[in-house]
């Protein structure tokens, strides 16, 4: 059985070696910085010092954490049982969102690779995101009111839509077959709250009966805001380990406007 500090240092190293770390200069103590691993490292430092006898060893893999201020009083006095987490540092490692793991590297066909700079260079972009098999045409800054209440999300959470059937700009459209690989683009969405519809009353009647039943319904809906719709450049894709392959029938294509 591992000790907690050993597990935590292991997880932190895994997190730092992961390619999708988003760095930021000033970590905020809010839910907004869920994706900032810098605040995670700040908060871990006092904890690991108190639990392990060699405080330097788990931090050796994280040189950037030592550049920022080491003391973080608020996070170190955090009690898991009484408070809800405000940053990712407060969430236990086991409950943190898991970055998607891919078994094979991203495969991009030659034609897509040659056309991609045209698509990337032409802003703004739109994405047709699929959610429960329904298409949502999204651009940056759009307000979404889902036709259902999304479970297990809170206001302030950031989601990543990873099923897109199309991705495009004014003159170019990338079509998926049936979806585009989620590593080519980034579509982040912030949950802004829950909305409700006005009470609906439907009068139910039966034949030859005076009684009228009133069926009431008042559904709730999740509100969201699109934070960004971004297409990655070919250089970024290659840096993340994309493999260029020959064209085949069932691959995504970029079509210019006719």
């Amino acid at each position: 059985m591992f000790s907690r500090s050993a597990l935590r240092s292991l997880a932190s190293e895994l997190r730092w070696t992961a390619p999708s770390t988003i760095s930021s200069a000033a970590p905020l103590q809010q839910r907004a910085c869920l994706h900032q691993s810098a605040s995670l490292m700040n908060a871990q430092q006092p904890q690991s010092q108190s639990t392990s006898s060699h405080p330097e060893s788990p931090l050796s893999a994280t040189p950037r954490a030592q550049d920022t201020q080491p003391e973080n009083v608020k996070a170190s006095t955090f009690d898991e049982n009484t408070m809800t987490p405000q940053t990712r540092a407060h969430v236990p490692i086991a409950k943190q969102p898991v970055a998607p793991t891919f078994t094979s590297p991203l495969k991009v066909t030659k034609s897509v690779m040659s056309q991609l700079p045209h698509l990337v260079g032409q802003k703004p972009h739109y994405v047709v995101a699929q959610l429960h098999a329904r298409p949502y045409l999204l651009t940056e800054g759009d307000h979404i009111r889902l036709p259902f209440l999304m479970p297990k999300v809170k206001a302030g959470d950031i989601l990543r839509f990873n099923r897109a059937s199309a991705l495009g700009s004014r003159d170019f459209t990338m079509k998926g077959s049936p979806t585009i690989d989620e590593r080519i683009y980034e579509c982040r969405v912030r949950v802004t709250g829950v909305d409700s519809e006005p009470l609906r009353i439907k009068e139910k009647t039966k034949r030859r009966q005076r009684h009228v039943k009133q069926a009431k319904s008042k559904h709730r809906y999740t509100l969201m805001r699109v934070m960004d719709v971004r297409v990655k450049t070919p250089d970024e894709l290659l840096a993340e380990g994309a493999v260029v392959v020959e064209d085949s029938a069932d691959s995504s294509v970029i079509e210019p406007r006719s």
Partner: protein
């Protein structure tokens, strides 16, 4: 010279960059004597401290309202308020109502049919019959 209105330079898009919770204040009203406030008094004693600690961005006010049913009132950034009567409710039911007021946008309830509202211009532009190729049918 004609009077000119002030032009807005940006449109409010909460959540696109920074995110601010729309609920800014919750007022809890109770009565010490009435039986319908029993659950509310228990809620104020047991659950409210943790709820307030979890939501530091919301101002919380507790005040008695004698001879009346207990009430939670949410005040929002857009200036509207939303009162919810919580008479004869258990503490866990009242917590649900408080969470509902917390996550609400403060807008008037409307029936919306389109899921997406956008301030942006159409990405692909408006179709014109005079431009582009003729396409075979």
């Amino acid at each position: 010279m004609p009077l000119r209105g002030i032009r807005t330079s940006t449109a409010a898009r909460n959540g696109a960059g920074a995110f601010i919770l729309q609920c800014k204040r919750l007022d809890f009203h109770y009565c010490n004597w009435a039986g319908s406030s029993k659950g509310m008094v228990a809620f104020l004693e047991k659950t409210l401290p943790t709820f307030a600690r979890e939501n530091p961005q919301i101002e919380i006010r507790v005040s008695p309202r004698p001879q009346k049913h207990p009430l939670i009132k949410g005040l929002y950034i857009n200036g509207r308020e939303k009162p919810v009567c919580v008479r004869n409710m258990e503490p866990h039911e009242i917590l649900k109502k408080a969470n509902l007021l917390k996550e609400a946008s403060g807008e008037k309830l409307k029936r919306v049919k389109k899921p997406i509202t956008s301030l942006n211009e159409s990405v692909r532009g408006i179709w014109s019959p005079y431009h582009g190729d003729l396409r075979g049918v």
